[in-house]
């Protein structure tokens, strides 16, 4: 197992720069998830680490050794592909044994190693099956086994669950997490699914437009998004982001949203002080609030403002409610059936401890 360090990676496809000056440090035994929308450069980054793409400039070091000039086969890493890429003309056993054969491992040793990794992944019963006779989950496990069998320096996974159904993904997510704890392999995992990222990653690296937007523990990325993109990419439903104005008259902070300047939330003075310290720009200020931090009351409540229910999405354990406040729509998550019907009037407030402020021009969080 090993560390991976990317420094100033640049990758172009023709005139298009798909990775722009990427820096990323992955510690030994760490599980890092590269998260981002399609086309953000996350898969290209992974392929660059693997040696499947040449980079235009920058350095890739695995275990302190620069590898950007080495071909894939000399980097000693394993790769799990989205569609598993099991060799269709080989049985599960031969698929798993394939990398060992390349290394010239003795036959009986191959058999022993394959057996061992097969038992870890519980695929002993299908070891003689051909890929065409396997279920998606089995194929995924065999692909994992093939990656693990030769004890690589690092495991790279490119949306390994992208083609599986939701239930199986949930199952495999847990399995993969346990596997990582057991084997302790340095893992880079690419996905566009934030649930996978949040649940499995030691760290999440959010990418967009070839730029690393933020890297941190799942909780950090969720609670303190570095910019508008991260705020809106992580979390479901997405964080509400509403243009606002803020003033600190007297000993309270007023956050005014909408064109009419009548919908005004009241918070403690500390908010204004913090904003002022950040030298905020009144004209490009937006307030961000996660749906679960929007407080909803059915009765008029002091300090709350009136809103109209536009739409209700019942999801079972909780409901997602679209609320019209003036011209703006905010989404709140409420207890199941707390809000009864569309068109209903409710009163809302925002949880002061979970407010985020962004500059809409730069997109950066003001870090409140």
């Amino acid at each position: 197992m090993a560390t991976i360090r990317l420094s100033n990676i640049v990758k172009r496809f023709g005139p298009l720069e798909v990775i722009k000056q990427l820096n990323l440090d992955i510690k030994d035994r760490e599980f890092v998830v590269l998260l981002g929308p399609s086309g953000c450069g996350k898969t290209t980054t992974l392929r660059a680490i693997a040696g499947l793409e040449e980079i235009d400039s920058g350095e890739i070091a695995i275990d302190g050794q620069e590898v950007q000039a080495l071909p894939a086969r000399d980097r000693d890493i394993a790769f799990v592909f989205q569609l598993f890429a099991l060799y269709p003309h080989l049985s599960a056993f031969d698929n798993i044994a394939f990398p060992l054969k390349a290394a010239g491992v003795a036959k009986n040793e191959i058999a022993a190693k394959v057996k061992e990794v097969a038992s870890v992944l519980r695929i002993g019963s299908i070891i003689d099956h051909m890929p065409s006779a396997m279920s998606g989950g089995d194929m995924q496990r065999v692909a994992m086994a093939r990656a693990l069998v030769r004890d690589p320096k690092a495991m790279l996974m490119d949306e390994p669950m992208g083609s599986l159904d939701a239930k199986l993904r949930e199952e495999l997510r847990t399995e993969l997490k346990h596997l990582h704890i057991e084997t302790g392999s340095t893992t880079v995992y690419v996905t566009h699914d934030q649930v996978e990222a949040m649940s499995m990653g030691d760290k999440i690296a959010v990418m967009d437009l070839g730029i690393l937007q933020q890297i941190g523990k799942p909780k950090e990325v969720y609670d303190n998004p570095a910019n508008v993109f991260v705020a809106q990419f992580i979390g479901s439903p997405v964080m509400n982001l509403v243009d606002c104005q803020c003033d600190g008259n007297g000993d309270v902070t007023h956050v005014v949203i909408g064109e009419r300047h009548v919908d005004r939330f009241e918070f403690s003075k500390a908010i204004y002080e913090k904003l002022k310290a950040k030298d905020f720009n009144q004209k490009s200020l937006a307030v961000g609030i996660r749906p679960e931090a929007v407080l909803v009351e059915r009765q008029p409540t002091n300090g709350y403002i009136k809103a109209e229910v536009d739409d209700i999405e019942p999801l079972g354990p909780y409901d997602i409610v679209d609320l019209k406040v003036g011209d703006d729509v905010m989404r709140a998550s409420t207890r199941s059936r707390y809000v009864e019907r569309e068109g209903q009037e409710v009163w809302i407030h925002l949880d002061e401890n979970r407010l985020h402020f962004f500059d809409t021009v730069s997109g950066e969080s003001l870090g409140i």
Binding site: A50, G51, L52, P71, A72, R73, R75, I77, A78, F79, F81, L83, A85, Y87, P88, H89, F98, P99, A102, A103, R146, R150
Partner: protein
Amino acid sequence: MAAVVSQRKKLANRIMIAAVLVTTFIMLIPIYWIATTSIKSFSDAVAVPPKIFFQPEMTGLVKVFTKRTQLRAPKYKITDQTLESLEADGVPGDVLVELAAVGKLYRTESQFTDAVNEALGPERATDYLALVVRYATISDPTPEKYADARWYEKLIYDSGEKILRASPYPNRLWNSVLISIVSTVLSVAMGTLTAYGFSRFRVKGEKDWLFFILSTRMLPPLVIIVPLFLMYRAVGLIDTHLGLIILYTAFNLSFSVWLMKGFIDEIPVEYEEAAMIDGYTRFEAFRKIVIPQSVTGMAATAVFCFITAWNEYAFALVLTARRAQTAPPFIPSQVGSGLPDWTAIAAGTVLFLIPVVIFTFMLRNHLLRGVTFGAIRK
């Protein structure tokens, strides 16, 4: 409603089956025609209207393996043997003496009878003429020779010819087999490698190159055959196996590259990437992953290349004469003297069809999948 639909479907299905049967039937007619002609007698083969029912015989088949010449017409001469036979049949001595004077060799029956008439006088001549002609006839072959002949020699005698020597047809077939197989192996191997390159690497001007490769196929052989002949003569490739192998390989290569590119494009690149990460070089990945994956395509391509090389006529006709001549130009060369001998040509053609049928049959599973598989491009 559902019943109506399924009825209609059934009907459509039946019409399809009928259409397939009719098409098959029509396509089999020439095969049937050639196959039956090869086992007809010459007179049956050229009969008008064509004969459906006939006595099958092997003459055509024997002819294609032999060089023959026409039998000579019978000649007439009174020899000592003739006189002995006549005597044994009770011809009086004076007649024999006068007949012995007719010693010359006659080339036609009328000249001979005239001579006999003159020697014997009209009266005696009428009594003995038939007998004399019978014993004086020297036929080709002689009855003894005919009796000693093997079955195939008899067949040829019966059709008015005699065998001079074996024909070079087996050698021509062998040339065809050798040249077709070697050129097929070469064009599939080179085509697969080239197609792999085009499929997996960004080649500058890829489309132009591919079009250029295809364009080598656009001129009909006859257009380039004269310059080709001159070039081949200059480098001494006329009438050599190597000459035809090079030509057929080049000719089939464009086809092979295009077909194989279609197949290799269909193989996900991830398989090789996985292999390269698993510690293999690109060439090992090609050998262990791409080749097994494209066997179907290679088989289909091989069948097409083999058939093209096997059937090629124009180049073989012009560029070979004896040593390296293939079967296609040889078979019609049976049209030697006199009437074209359709039975021999048909027999040669039937034998010529067999290897290609066997080859295609062996690869039939790949072929059916291959043809549909390669047809779908991304």
